[in-house]
Structures are given as structure tokens and as C-alpha cells.
Symmetry: C2
Subunit: 380 residues, 2 copies
């Protein structure tokens, strides 16, 4: 029995605790929020990331620390490593916290990226646009998530307004990629160096927030092999321990690295029911140095995210092989409050399930791209 400390008490911490409890492990979460939803299933220490007295008490009660949130301050992660074991290591966290460092590293491990340039001034931005062409996306290098901290530049006249909106912090300009699909590799590396990956997942976003995922993706074996090889190279380069997501754009047979998330990831939620060992259980296993679990897909799965507020659960509960997840959070626009995963043995069966649920919840628009992908490609 180990006690695992988690920095951040959102739904990822909640699902980590729910996955680790059957294995006999205990959890202690640190979060400053009054209503951290992980508190419903694990003890929570209410403290700020920079409250080192509280962190000392936290460190003394746990065997290993990990994260449900990648934007924990680097100094906090560094401080913790002097007081307990921390996985993933703070250097890996730091890479994922800075889009410029992250994209540069992608290049070093042989993963192409959209053309990009650092932007620290309006003059930089003008030069960067020459390099990337238009349209392009201006992003904060740090603290962006779910589409926050971004501005799209479609024409030269957008340059100044984008600078006005985001300038003053370190930025990066990235060429806009007319990708065919967004995909992610969810992979895990343990303290012993063992590496495993889940099948490629295809993702759809709405207003910058993940809307739906489908796995396994029907792609050429060679594309899957390259994506996994890059994920593995990244993990080994960072001496990464735990689960992470590598988000990719697919353009024909090209793969471009978009970003990495140094934690369990929304696009891996389908693994709870779609595999024998979920991303959450494998993260626990990895940070404790236990053997990694089975990552093969059992049939095919589609995950639908509930943003802002939950729809009626009944149509999902009434559907065979459909799984409801309510994170116990209060509703708020743009907030991830739950998800549903629908599983099936075939693409046809999954399409039927998506159609029934989409219709019953008046969410035809939500399920349509997933159904279209299944109709066009089936599943792997």
C-alpha cells in the first residue's frame, strides 16, 4: 500500500483516485479550491501551490507525488523533489509548460511541427508572420489550455489586434495547419523504463475544447508506428515517468506535433472501459514502479465530453455498453463536467449507439463527426 499525493484536485485527480483505490492505494490531494471535485473520493489538503509549510506536511504523508495539472509552478515541483519522489520529473513538466521549448524538442526527436517562431515584440510578430505565412495562430508560450490564450491571424491587418490582445508575455506564432484530423497517442513509461501505448485516438474540438474522441483510429500501420515511435522517443528523452499525451495533426501521411500533456489526458478517458487497464491505473502503476497493464483496445470506443452542464443521463444509462461519468462539479460555461463513453464490438454497432444517444440527447451535431469518421474509415 502506497499513498500517492496529487497536485490538483480536478476530475483527473478524481479518476486517478478511483482507479488506484481498488489496488489498495491511498491518496492525498492538494488544491486551493473550496470545491475541488476529487475531495468527494479522497482527502484534500487545501493549500496554495506556494504554501511550502503545507507542502511539507503533504510531502511527509505521501510516498510519491504526481499531478492532475501541468501548470503547477516549476519552483513548487522543484521544491517537492527535495522532499519526496515526484513523477513526472519537474524538467519534463517544464518542457510541457512552454510551447516554444516543447516544439523545439519535438524537432530534436524527429517530429515535424507546424512552422513556428518566438514572438516577444510587435516587430518579432511581423517577422514571424513572414516565416509562417497566414493564416497563423498566436499563442501564449505558457499557461494556455482548452484554447485559452490564443488568437488567429487571418490577414496582415490582424497583426496589431492580436498583439494588443496577447502581447506582454512570451508568445509563439504557429502556422495554421489545414489538418485532416487531430489525433493523440496516450502512452505510459514506468520508473523501470517499461513503455506502453494505447491505440491512436482521434479527437474533435469545439471552441478549443475537446468535444469527442474515437479509438482505435483506422490509420495505416506505418503512421501508427511513427506516432508511437515519436512518443517513445519523447518519453525517453525526458526520462518521463507516468502517462502522457502527445497531440498530433495528421495531414495525409504527415504527422505534425501539436503539444504534449504531461499527465493523464481527456483524450484517454475512453480507456476506462475500452481497455483492460485504463490510463489512470497505468499512471498509478508507473509512478509506483509496478508492472504496466494491458493497453489493447477491447472493441472500439467513443467518448463524448460534457461541457458547461450535464445532459440528462437516462439515455446513456439505458444504452448497452454505455458509461456515464459525472465529475461532481457545479455547472459553469466552458467547464468540463463529465463525459460518456460508448463501447461496441464493431464500427456499425458503435454508430448505432452514437445515433441513439445523439438523438435522445438532441446532440446530433456532437456525435455527427464521430459517426462520419466511423462511416468513412471504420475502426482499426
Amino acid at each position: 500500500m502506497a499513498t500517492i499525493g496529487i497536485l490538483g484536485g480536478g476530475q483527473l485527480a478524481r479518476m486517478l483516485a478511483l482507479a488506484g483505490a481498488p489496488l489498495g492505494h491511498r491518496f492525498l490531494v492538494v488544491d486551493s479550491a473550496e470545491d475541488a471535485c476529487a475531495a468527494q473520493v479522497a482527502p484534500v489538503l487545501r493549500a496554495d501551490w506556494r504554501d511550502f509549510a503545507a507542502l511539507e506536511a503533504f510531502a511527509s504523508k505521501i510516498d510519491v507525488a504526481t499531478f492532475d495539472f501541468e501548470n503547477v509552478p516549476a519552483e513548487t515541483a522543484e521544491w517537492l523533489t527535495a522532499h519526496t519522489r515526484v513523477f513526472p520529473n519537474p524538467a519534463a513538466l517544464a518542457v510541457a509548460q512552454d510551447r516554444l521549448v516543447e516544439k523545439s524538442l519535438f524537432g530534436e526527436i524527429g517530429l515535424d511541427t507546424p512552422t513556428f517562431a518566438a514572438v516577444d515584440s510587435l516587430a518579432d510578430l511581423h517577422r514571424a508572420v513572414e516565416k509562417t505565412g497566414l493564416p497563423a495562430v498566436l499563442k501564449t508560450r505558457r499557461l494556455g489550455y482548452d484554447g485559452k490564450g490564443q488568437a488567429i491571424l487571418r490577414q496582415h491587418s490582424d497583426i496589431e489586434s492580436a498583439w494588443d490582445a496577447l502581447g506582454g508575455v512570451p508568445l509563439i506564432l504557429e502556422a495554421f495547419v489545414a489538418f485532416e484530423s487531430e489525433m493523440s497517442v496516450i502512452a505510459v513509461r514506468s520508473r523501470s523504463g517499461e513503455f506502453r501505448h494505447y491505440p491512436l485516438t482521434r479527437n474533435w474540438h469545439s471552441n478549443g475544447i475537446l468535444s469527442a474522441s474515437l479509438a482505435p483510429v483506422a490509420v495505416e500501420a506505418e503512421l501508427q508506428r511513427r506516432a508511437v515511435a515519436r512518443a517513445r522517443a519523447l518519453a525517453e528523452r525526458l526520462d518521463y515517468v507516468g502517462v502522457f499525451a502527445l497531440e498530433l495533426f495528421a495531414c495525409g501521411d504527415r504527422l505534425l506535433g501539436n503539444e504534449m500533456a504531461p499527465r493523464v489526458h481527456n483524450s484517454g478517458h475512453w480507456t476506462i472501459e475500452g481497455t483492460a487497464c485504463s490510463q489512470f491505473e497505468n499512471h498509478i502503476r508507473a509512478v509506483l514502479g509496478l508492472p504496466l497493464g494491458d493497453t489493447d483496445a477491447r472493441g472500439c470506443s467513443a467518448m463524448l465530453n460534457w461541457i458547461g452542464e450535464l445532459p440528462d443521463a437516462t439515455p446513456v444509462l439505458a444504452e448497452a455498453r454505455a458509461h456515464w461519468h459525472d465529475y461532481g462539479k457545479s455547472p459553469r460555461p466552458g467547464r468540463k463536467v463529465g463525459h460518456a463513453t460508448l463501447c461496441a464490438d464493431s464500427a456499425e454497432e458503435l454508430v448505432e449507439r452514437l445515433q441513439r444517444v445523439g438523438r435522445a440527447l438532441d446532440r446530433e451535431v456532437h456525435v455527427a463527426p464521430v459517426i462520419a469518421a466511423l462511416a468513412a474509415n471504420g475502426t482499426a
Copy 2:
């Protein structure tokens, strides 16, 4: 979101809370034990079953009450029904608390039982032996579980010693059944009257404690149909709400009712990974009046109980499609402290998994009967 109160804070309450949390529900457990293992995943109110002031506070905080333990005093269950909704109802609980009432009810719904007779005196016991023949089993009518409160009578000279060991409380004498196998039906009935059942499970006991389960059992469709029909008749007769287990002896094509457990049951633990909706989730759905979930078996599953202390988890964690459950309890002889479930797509694959795990844990004896059953019959 509902708050579900559970009387009893053992591993069944723990697994109920872990199954209900993803659905967004909250739990409050009542248990007098200092170290109730459900406390690791849900809030626990420490109180005795007869502390009505504490129960009043409990009832005021919950939407519905249920049980992890069937021997809650009838007066407690009755008291609760006046203060909150209670499922299963106290009358159903009372039937399962008394072996004589239970066996009589089995007869009324057309389920054969071993020959039995009530025993309240030594003279009764002599008469009862004439009726049942020998060998026979003398049992306390109430509060027996895991083989406790039982004495086997092999010859007439055992009558007095059995009476000396158990006499003084209401007893039942049952003819000893030379059964070929022990099986259970895990079934669920919801507040709306919806009824579902899991495939028949075969069980093995060691020293009166469940040692292993295998599902689905390869039996004739007619036998399965009869077993399920009896379970359904029982549930309807009792206006039962929630999951229950009907334990049966199979002798050729005869089925004899052994006992009913008015709660989620050890022989249904395999449903956590072996079906889309576990007995724990379905119990939550049933007591909340939600649609019941999918009870079909996904492949075949074997569950191995860990009694007294846990073996090394590593060989199970290292096996594909093998699932480790540690209840967070301290070791104690005869105590159920955890289990493992091994899943597979075929009987052959499951046999291989059982052999590897049995060998690695030096538990060949533990897995041997399950392997023998798979070799003889395969799975349904």
C-alpha cells in the same frame, strides 16, 4: 446527484462507493468499526446499529439507505424505513436472516431445497435426523456466514455434541447434499420492477469461505432458465429492490436452493471487469430507480479470493487482463482481504492465465478446481 447511505463499511460498501462515484453519486457509510475499509473512499459515521440518534443524523443526510451486511438488526431496518427510503425492504432482509423462513419461502416459489427441519430442542434434533437422514448439517437459523455457526452430523453419535456446540438458539437441520457443483445467480431488480440477471456463476468454497468463482458457467440453457426464473420469482415475491445472490446446489439436472444473500455478493465480484455494468453499479442504479445496466458477460472470468492475507500482487499485475483488488484491510485469519479477477476471450486463454498466476503465487491448489472445470466444460 444522490447521496446513498450504506449500513456496514466493509469491502462491499467500498466497492459500491467506487462504482457509484463515476455516476456522480455520494455516499455516507455507518459502521461502528474503527478501521472500516470503506472509510478510505467515502465518509463514515461511526455508530452502533442501535444508536438511533446517530441513525437520525444519518437518515437526514441521505436520499436512500442500503446495506453491505444482511445482519443489520430488523428493528434498525424498520426504524430507518420511517425516516428514509430503504432498499432492499426490511421484510426481504428478515427472510434472508432466518434460514428456516428462507428455505420455506424457496419451497413456496417452487425451488427445491435439501430436506430440512426446525430444531429447538435435543428431542427436535433426534426427530429431525429421522427426517433428513445422515449426514446432515446443523446450522443456526440466524447470523451464520462463511461457514460459521454450523456442525456436520455424520453418525447418530454426533447428535449430542452438535447440540452441545450450537443448542440454545433456534436451529435448522439440513440433509447433507452430495452436490456436483455450487452455483449462484446474481440478479438485480429496480424500483420500477425492471429485472436483470448476470450469467450463472460457479463457486468453490474452502473451509466454508468462497475461494473462487467462474463465469459464465457452461450449463444447459434449460438449467440456466430455471435458475433465473426462481431468482426472479423470489425477487417479485419479496418486492425486492437491489442486487441479490441466490446460491444453488446443482445435482445432475436438479437445482436445490441453498441460501439467498440480500446484497451484492462475493460471487459477483467478477462482474466488475467481466461485464459492462457491475453488480455494484447495478445495485446503485436499482436503489435510485435508474435504468439497469448491461449484464452480459464479456468473455469469461475467474475470480480468486484472497483470505487472511494478500499474496504478492506482482504476478497478477504483470498478467494481461488480470485485475487486482486490495480492500485496504489488515490481515487476519479467515478474513476476506482482496481478490483478483482474470478475464479472457476463451476457456483456453483463461486456463493459461490461471496456470501462470497459480504457479507464480504458489497457489496451484487454489486454481486447480477452476482449471478442471474449464477443461471439462469450457465456458458458456
